[in-house]
């Protein structure tokens, strides 16, 4: 028994059979909170990442509607809890009691796709680099592991290969999942993987399974998902900034809702509000959207982005120009296509980028 355990600890690959997936992850959930993609409701098409529960339906055969963003950046996150209490030293006064809420519990996100993890690599630049480190983000980020699928499910909205990633991009992932006949091969990519494997209670794959996985990976590596060209967009957004006719063409049908930003793995904007309840309350960080009018509403009454056109320009510009300019060329879009798929009016960000590019090159040439 001891010998077997030892052997397991050193293994870098395990095989999970189709019927053993729930059990394996349930084993893990004794030590970690395990997030998996599952249907949002009984008959719904939409999928979202939720913490595993007994008997839940895990769906790994298509991209989730909502990315796993909320695992690290919850839609509503308590930063501080506060309470006013009668002062013990001076009964005529109140003391303010503050409690910082930092969640460091260990998490595994199982069944992410390269685009999902790429989203966190983008957010890392903002929250973990430079002068200010976000302690709330860091606590969750450092305690979260990603088991990522080699993705074979690209559809007509996907374009990950056009923005510096790809369906076999394992950067940022701790475990690679390769779907093969009869199950999945899990492969350790970082030191943290072996600890997980030792808790899984799974067999090592046989030679044939390893060969199958190798073939699948090779196939996925050879795929190029999307054919968006982004050259010239970096400068193009700046050059076309005041070309409101162009932005009207791109975003005239926009409803100014927050779908694109909330389903986006790389949109990290938040607002902070105090939510009181009597003498106690919390300081809450919650998702915000640059598509909303209130997002840039200034105290003076002025709003620099008064219509959806300026707001859409910002969304596209931020992802394809301002962000890469600040963070050594990294495009703040992972090409997952969620904003395209979920947009109520089917606005296609690829088309917007293409229009900016054309306008820019047109300017340069003439």
């Amino acid at each position: 028994m001891v010998a077997r355990r030892k052997e397991k600890k050193s293994q870098n690959r395990i095989f999970i059979p189709l019927e053993g997936l729930n059990q394996t992850l349930e084993n893990l959930s004794k030590h970690f909170t395990v997030w998996v993609p599952m249907p949002s409701g009984e008959n719904e098409w939409s999928l979202e990442f939720k913490p595993l529960h007994r008997g839940c339906k895990i769906l790994l055969d298509r991209q989730s509607t909502l990315p796993p963003k909320k695992v690290i950046l919850p839609q509503g996150q308590t930063l501080i809890e506060y309470e006013y209490k009668k002062s013990e030293s001076d009964p005529s006064k109140q003391d303010l009691v503050l409690r910082e809420v930092i969640d460091e519990s260990p998490i595994i996100v199982f069944g992410t796709r390269p685009c999902d993890v790429r989203g966190f690599l983008v957010c890392d630049k903002v929250f973990l680099q430079g002068r200010y480190i976000d302690v709330y983000y860091r606590a969750r980020r450092l305690n979260t592991l990603f088991a990522t699928l080699f993705c074979r499910e690209a559809d007509d909205a996907c374009f990950c290969s056009s923005v510096g990633s790809g369906p076999a991009d394992m950067e940022g992932s701790d475990i690679g999942i390769t779907p093969i006949d009869g199950g999945w091969i899990l492969e350790g990519l970082t030191d943290r993987a072996s600890e997980i494997f030792s808790l899984c209670d799974c067999e090592a794959p046989d030679e044939k399974q390893i060969e199958d996985a190798r073939r699948v990976q090779e196939e996925v590596r050879s795929m190029r998902v999307g054919n968006l060209r982004t050259d010239g967009v970096l400068e193009g957004v700046k050059g076309q900034f005041q070309n409101m006719e162009l932005w009207r063409d791109i975003a005239e049908s926009c409803l100014s809702c927050g779908v694109c930003t909330y389903v986006c793995p790389t949109c990290y904007c938040f607002t902070i509000t105090d939510e009181p309840q009597g003498l106690r309350g919390e300081r809450l960080r919650s998702w915000d959207s640059c598509m909303f009018y209130q997002y840039t509403q200034e105290a003076s009454g002025h709003n620099p982005r008064p219509t959806k056109l300026e707001r859409y320009r910002n969304r596209l510009g931020h992802k394809f120009s301002y962000f890469p300019l600040r963070y050594s060329g990294m495009i703040a879009c992972c090409g997952c296509g969620r904003c395209i798929r979920s947009c109520p009016v089917s606005i296609d960000i690829r088309q917007g980028v293409e229009r900016v590019r054309e306008a820019h090159h047109g300017c340069v040439c003439s």
């Binding site: 298509r62 927050g258 779908v259 509000t273 395209i340 109520p344």
Partner: protein, 322 residues
């Protein structure tokens, strides 16, 4: 059939183009089952216009929501409407947001629009769509891993399956043949009635489960042509603050309750709120209940007669039956 109507639509637009500022219609989106709104301003773009059961969006909001196309003196803005959309146009006229003589309404009878999610569900794993065609009441989809044939009725949006106004109620020109509704008018609120027969616990459980999926993206609000507070919605106001930013069921329910109540007696049941929800929450169902009440109390249906004043926008001290 669809290409014929599309052709007629393009011809009609060609004829009226000199008199209008712009034409609001639909064009192909990123694949054949995803259509998107388009604003045609020059003749060269008329060929973009299409009509088929994938033209899901209600375009009437574009007439009033900023930055809307405002016609110059003596000109009009043309808009393509289905039956349900035409009621929104009437409602906007009733409430004074729109002048009838500023718009040119191109009415298109509609036998139902497609819920793309229902199509995707039928395709199982593969989701790259190469071609889609609707013929003789069936959708044929060619996708990456084969061909699927689905009866149209099985993939229509819920709003369409209970539509009683498939033909435009107001228009300057109608393109296509008149169609008959899927249900009888007396059955309009049978879903509401069936739901009300359930116990309080069951109903509470239903709404707790479905509304807990809400991500508060406000697509339901922004897609609604009659949600006219827009940038000043109480959902985001800080001072005074009505709704917290917490993503808890209580706050979500509060938002949807407010949203629905503000539409009581105004909602034309175009179902856009429900169609646009990325989490597939049946939010129109709440409004259906309010409309059922409005019909019972005031014998009033929104967006039918532009001369009527919506019951909750007026006050009559002699009102009876309440």
């Amino acid at each position: 059939m669809w290409s014929e109507i599309t052709k007629k639509l393009q011809e009609t637009v060609q004829n009226i183009m000199p008199q209008v500022e712009a034409v609001i219609g639909w064009e192909r989106g990123f694949n054949e089952i995803r259509i998107k709104p388009v604003v045609i301003k020059k003749e060269g773009d008329i060929s973009k216009l299409v009509w088929n059961p994938f033209c899901v969006q209600n375009l009437s909001g574009y007439l009033v929501k900023s930055p809307a196309v405002i016609p110059r003196e003596g000109r009009r803005v043309a808009i393509c409407v289905k039956g349900c959309d035409s009621r929104s146009v009437t409602a906007l006229i009733q409430e004074g947001f729109l002048k009838r003589d500023q718009i040119f309404i191109i009415g298109i009878p509609c036998s139902g629009t497609v819920d793309w999610r229902k199509v995707m569900k039928r395709l199982e794993r593969s989701s790259v769509i190469h071609r889609a065609e609707i013929k003789d009441g069936r959708l044929m989809v060619e996708h990456a891993e084969g061909v699927e044939e689905i009866p149209l009725r099985e993939i229509l949006l819920r709003r369409c399956l209970r539509c009683v106004y498939p033909n435009p109620t107001v228009s300057d020109v109608v393109i296509g043949e008149t169609v008959s509704p899927h249900i009888e008018k007396e059955d309009l609120y049978k879903d509401v009635e069936a739901f009300e027969r359930k116990s309080l616990d069951e109903r509470r459980k239903f709404w707790a489960e479905t509304l807990s999926r809400c991500i508060r993206c406000y697509a339901c609000r922004n897609a609604c042509p009659l949600c006219i507070c827009q940038d000043w919605c109480i959902a985001e106001r800080r001072d005074p603050k009505w709704v917290t930013q917490k993503p808890t069921l209580k706050d979500i329910l509060l938002f949807h309750g407010i949203h629905a109540l503000h539409l009581a007696g105004r909602c034309t049941e175009c179902g856009e709120c429900e169609r646009v929800c990325p989490m597939e929450i049946p939010v129109m169902f709440i409004k259906e209940k309010l409309n059922e009440t409005t019909l019972r109390l005031f014998s009033y249906e929104a967006g039918i007669d532009s001369n009527l004043v919506p019951p909750l926008l007026t006050f009559n001290p002699h009102e009876t039956g309440i």
